[in-house]
Symmetry: C2
Subunit: 327 residues, 2 copies
């Protein structure tokens, strides 16, 4: 059995309370005593039992993450920085996949509620009502979704789209296709708005190709409609769709970017590894997740700052998939 606080106490010849204090409030303990306690603990391999301390302090030492789909690189991209920052603050990370199911999400949140000190909801799919109905006392930070009264971290997709349009127009493109993502997507709505606004300010025109699944195959399915549209450039909902387009264009013998330019969105790690390196809108994943964790920790600590959402800039990364419009 693992050593308990009492084992350490008797080994060090002090009471359990002193051992407890030696770890949680060292300055309340005499220097010499503290040394003895530390030694005894070391010798016995004592580690405080988090369940027991949590029972009384009400803290678990865990933070939870809920994402719609762990198979989507967009969501796994944040894992490394998130885990790292959590550990830095001495928290463990509890991971949950909501299977893109809006109804499952609130259930998962409630289930996790007792086992974490706070939650990061990444692109939650649940309705605004469900989001508002979440236990008020539970610290929650959302990413990529705005929730009134809760801290959230957003990225400026609209501006990213503006940059894309400027880039394409500068290259001479005047007819630009857009492959939309799933119908209900909030991120999609933001991108489209930004896109339409930017197009409106330019002398180019936008051809909407319609909604497609946000995966590689979705891009494959959209390729022929894009070719039929007569556009010289296409902007995809996200990088995976762009990669799907790219693959199908190759299959059709359409050269990128000589005949057609392709732009993705998000800049997940693999975009740079594609056959034709993808021009895309870069989301500052590491920064976003750092912000989210910091906001969450502040909320857990009771510093209810951040009434305004944090909005992070995006920027265009021009790689090999875009070039001058063909004449």
């Amino acid at each position: 059995m693992a050593a308990t606080i009492r084992d350490v106490a008797s080994a060090a010849g002090v009471s359990a309370s002193t051992v407890s204090r030696a770890f949680t409030a060292p300055d309340l303990v005499g220097e010499e005593t503290r040394g003895r306690v530390r030694d005894a603990a070391q010798r016995l391999g004592y580690l405080p039992n988090r369940q027991a301390s949590g029972l009384i302090t009400g803290r678990t030492g865990n933070i939870g993450l809920v994402v719609p789909d762990l198979a989507n690189p967009f969501y796994t991209e944040i894992l490394k920085p998130l885990q790292s920052r959590a550990r830095g603050a001495d928290y463990e990370l509890v991971l949950t996949d909501s299977e893109e199911d809006p109804e499952l999400e609130p259930v998962l949140v409630r289930r996790l509620a007792g086992q974490v000190d706070g939650l990061i909801l990444c692109s939650p799919r649940m309705s605004d009502e469900q989001l508002a109905d979440l236990p008020a006392g539970l610290p929650i930070v959302t990413m990529y979704r705005e929730v009134p009264g809760r801290p959230c971290v957003l990225v400026d997709y609209a501006d990213g789209m503006e940059q894309v349009v400027r880039h394409l127009v500068a290259l001479g493109h005047r007819r630009i296709a857009y492959v939309a993502g799933p119908r209900g997507s909030r991120a999609g709505a933001l991108r489209r708005e930004g896109l339409q606004a930017a197009i409106g300010r330019s002398d180019a025109e936008l051809v909407e190709i319609g909604h497609h699944p946000p995966h590689f195959d979705g891009g494959g399915a959209a390729a022929d409609p894009v070719l039929a549209s007569g556009a010289t450039a296409v902007i995809a909902f996200n990088d995976l769709v762009a990669l799907g387009l790219l693959a199908m264009f190759t299959q059709r013998g359409v050269r990128v970017p000589a005949e057609l330019s392709v732009v993705g969105c998000d800049d997940v790690a693999i975009t740079a590894m594609a056959g034709v390196p993808l021009t895309t809108v870069s989301v500052p994943f590491a920064r976003a997740v750092r912000n989210a964790v910091d906001l969450l920790l502040a909320t857990i600590a009771g510093n209810d700052a951040a009434p305004r959402p944090t909005r992070l800039p995006t920027h265009l990364v021009a790689r090999g998939s875009t070039g001058p419009a063909p004449r």
Copy 2:
């Protein structure tokens, strides 16, 4: 505040123990009573406090996962099936990145020990001694690494390499290059052994290109040596390296597979999305992780089966990056 077992008890007009039993051993409770308790619990939104029950049962309801690098798709690939299976068994998943640090791993394991009922160690980097020194009472299953006395899930890389060699030889390749991974890699050792054995049985020869980092950039760096080697086919340590090779070959104007065939290893999701779809050795990720979870749950339950490691088959997936050897 969240409702406690006492709140439910008084709401249902029974004692706390009855409420407890109604959830943990329903058949010990009268039907009518059970109904009243359930109703009251529902009404109050009661969820048992895991810390409190864990304190007495000694269970946490968590299983931990330790991986070397959360930014590596090879490790994120298992997340979805792992999380899913864990949830199916009513466990939460606690995620940890060991930063490829052999010394950090045992520390993390010990830290997690108190907070999980068992651990899955994915490709642990620590030494055999450190592995053997881990707390004996802690249920642990390793993936991709054999540990005497512990259940582990392995995949048959040697046979995968055998299949690759047969495939390439059948296509007429007689001079085959191998780009090795990091020097200490155990997976690499297995692959190389299988490779050498298979080459030995064939009439082809193997050109070893030397050790490279197991990432996209490692592949880029290996590309020129491969070209200089005169090989007509190259097998890479893993898919990322293969993708790096592919990209650099494209840059050098070398056509794949017309002039050179390329083979990866693992079949992470992105291989099928590369510009030239990659021929690779497929690791049955979902099956492997299901096995690992099942072994872990059995070990937690005290069914110390599985003295023998589970060894899963791999299979070659021939895609577009391999073709007949040039004359």
